[in-house]
Amino acid sequence: MDPQLTEVSQLFQRFNAAFIRKDYDSCANLLSQLKVLLTKFRSLPPLFENTPNAENELLLAREIYEQAVVLSVKIEDQDAFERDFFQLKPYYTDAGSSRLPASPQEYPILGLNLLRLLVQNRIAEFHTELELLSASALENPCIKHAVELEQSFMEGAYNRVLSARQTAPHETYVYFMDLLAKTVRDEIAGCSEKAYDYLSINDARQMLLFSSDQELLEYIQEEHPEWEVKNGFVFFQKAKESAPSKEIPSLQLINQTLSYARELERIV
């Protein structure tokens, strides 16, 4: 076996051991060493050179990046997630069908990425990624989970989003689901503000998913100081200022009329 490959795989074993110990600091340390070593393999993307060990190297590199993505979720680092995911992606798309057997981790990680885009509210990218998936991939529970979440989120069926946390197909999903819960709370607050005139504190607490009135009051103070809490009710009225009295858009009208005159003159 190639000495370089042996070195990398030994290092990766140490990484895995540290990962199981949940020693994430040394994991991150080992990972950066691994990434440096991977740059020496010429069979990896973007070169894709056909070296004798190509398949083993590609497989190993793919596994390393998959672990890197999972690690970034564990240490809750979204930027690292994005970086590692983009490094991993060519192994699925370009090296996928022809060179390598499919990875069992592929769909969970793709689903995780979809979830991340949803949490960061990057819906356009979410759909762009979705287009790349085949019909059979869309049937996969991990992907389906994310797709259904997006739909419920768009419709506004927020309690479905929250109940989906229990059905998360993979343990790594929980982190993003928790983040999503926060986003959902903000959304609900925004919607309630517009939709209701007032709510009783009890209802508001339930709706915004707080366990005690105290938490609700703190949240209102921090995020929505314009709401008014009075006699056991939350009033949103203040936030809905009455529409400002209508002004005549004189400047705009003058501009328009002048441009008509100018154009007409050009024609005549």
């Binding site: 819906i123 356009a124 990218e125 759909h127 762009t128 979705l130 287009e131 790349l132 019909a135 797709v147 739909q151 768009m154 419709e155 506004g156 069926a157 927020y158 309690n159 479905r160 959304e187 609900i188 925004g190 919607c191 309630s192 503000e193 517009k194 939709a195 209701y196 005139d197 709510l199 009783s200 209802d203 858009p249 328009q256 008509y260 154009e263 050009r266 024609i267």
Partner: protein, 484 residues
């Protein structure tokens, strides 16, 4: 064996003519002379005309006619000649008639113009594609592209753009589009460096098509936003560009822009391009539905499109009524159509619009309705769902209503009088602006014949004059060289 046949081809080009072909061959020769004059005069418009005339002849092309024409246009024995004739099937057993031997001999004496050479490549390529000989077509197009890379003449650009198109087409037909992506990018770079705008336009479209073929919307958008833009040279290419742009924007949820692009593409497309217009219409319908608009019935009843648009018509109907059950059954019924149109994911997105429309209908018809009834009417699973969905619709401005949580009902507000706002004025203004813009563009598009006010010179005189000018320029250039 091959040698033997080639020998025959060269020895008796005139023999391989069937009785019906002289007129076609005659036409081709006329086109060739048109290209020649265009090359001398540097008149790009004449080449465009040659291309148009050729397309009319496309169905009449036969191997015998083509080989006769190649013998006429290219020097026998030259590299291009031998390569092109090797692609053509041999039909030597035909009864022969002698009639164009003399012209072929005359032609062989003169120097071949690069324009004519490229034209021959193009002609053979179309013929091969029409005959469904895709592997030969691939070889032929690759050879022509290699040749093109070394040519830098503005008069070739028009023909080159055509060649790029067919080059990509034959790879698409065999399903190897990904192979030529790098090559197309290189060609686009070359075209940009040579200021060949038509080539850039064509290649950019081919690249977008290439990316979209594999659903690589991200890459397509990155390329599109960074590629240089200029005023469109060819209407067809512009239509294609708009269509691809509309698709990208749809995927990225910029529906308003997407709708504009797709509708414009559908309107600008030539009447003959039925398939293209159907595609544009399909996408435009979905985008309009996603925007919450309902396309008019006339859209679905356009001539020749009724059948293709039928699934979309039923879909629209379901969205219009706001019936989730009906929507689901339509989506299932036509799921194969939708997935072959690759609109399946977009249709999934529509579910949300169905609910919205249903909700809007309810809000218009009832001034006060309980959320339980809303959930029942929209066929939602639970009242809690209905409440949050209604709340979101209110926040997004889809309906104008308030919720009463204690009593569990929705209260619709009175709709305001639109004529008390500035809305009508804005609409009026945008129409006026459109008309004025149209007038200005019409004026700008007017064309005047060159030098019509000066005394008329005959074509020959002009050519003479231009030749003199060229010689003069050459002399000056040589003198300049001597000085150093």
């Amino acid at each position: 064996m091959t040698q033997d046949v080639e020998m025959k081809e060269q020895a008796a080009p005139s023999n391989s003519l069937t009785s019906s072909s002289p007129s076609t061959l005659q036409h081709l020769k006329e086109i060739a002379s048109l290209i020649e004059t265009a090359a001398y005069d540097r008149e790009i418009r004449r080449i465009l005309r040659a291309v148009r005339l050729t397309m009319a002849l496309r169905r009449k092309l036969k191997p015998s006619v083509l080989s006769a024409f190649i013998d006429f246009a290219l020097t026998p024995g030259s590299e291009a000649h031998s390569r092109l004739s090797s692609y053509l099937p041999k039909e030597d057993e035909h009864e022969m008639e002698v009639d164009t031997a003399t012209s072929a001999v005359q032609a062989s004496a003169k120097h071949t113009l690069p324009e004519l050479e490229i034209y021959c490549y193009w002609l053979v390529l179309i013929f091969l594609i029409d005959q469904k000989k895709y592997n030969e077509a691939k070889a032929c197009s690759s050879a022509s592209i290699a040749r093109l890379k070394n040519m830098n003449r503005r008069t070739v650009d028009v023909l080159a753009a055509r060649l790029y198109f067919y080059y990509s087409l034959c790879y698409e037909l065999t399903g190897d589009l990904a192979e030529i992506r790098g090559n197309l990018l290189a060609l686009h770079r070359i075209a940009t460096l040579r200021h060949d705008e038509l080539g850039q336009e064509t290649l950019l479209n081919l690249l977008l098509r290439n990316y979209l073929h594999y659903n690589l919307y991200d890459q397509a958008e990155k390329l599109r936003s960074k590629a240089p833009r200029f005023e469109a040279h060819s209407n067809q290419q512009f239509c294609r560009y708009l269509f691809y742009l509309g698709k990208i924007r749809t995927i990225q949820l910029e529906y308003t822009d997407a709708k504009e692009c797709l509708l414009q593409a559908a309107r600008k497309a030539p009447v003959a391009a039925l398939g293209f217009r159907v595609q544009c219409n399909k996408w435009a319908i979905i985008v309009r539905l996603l925007l919450g608009e309902i396309p008019e019935r006339t859209v679905f009843m356009q001539k020749g499109m009724e059948k293709a648009l039928r699934p979309y018509f039923e879909l629209t109907n379901a969205v219009r009524i706001g019936d989730l059950e009906l929507f689901r059954s339509v989506a299932e019924k036509f799921s194969s159509t939708f997935s072959s149109d690759r609109t399946h994911n977009l249709i999934v997105r529509l579910r949300h619009n169905v609910i919205r429309t249903g909700l809007r209908n309810i809000s218009i018809s009832y001034s006060r309705i309980s959320l339980v009834d809303v959930a029942k009417k929209l066929r939602l699973d639970s009242v809690a769902d209905a409440e949050s969905i209604v709340a979101k619709a209110i926040r997004d401005g889809a309906i104008d209503a308030t919720l009463d949580h204690a009593n569990g009902c929705m209260l619709s507000k009175e709709t305001g009088d639109i004529y008390s706002t500035t809305e009508p004025q804005m609409a009026f203004n945008s129409r006026i602006a459109f008309c004025l813009n149209m007038h200005n563009e019409a004026v700008r598009a007017l064309r005047f014949p060159p030098n019509s006010h000066k005394e008329k010179e005959s074509a020959e005189k002009r050519r003479e004059r231009q030749q003199q000018e060229q010689e003069l320029a050459k002399h000056i250039a040589e003198e300049d060289d001597d000085e150093f």
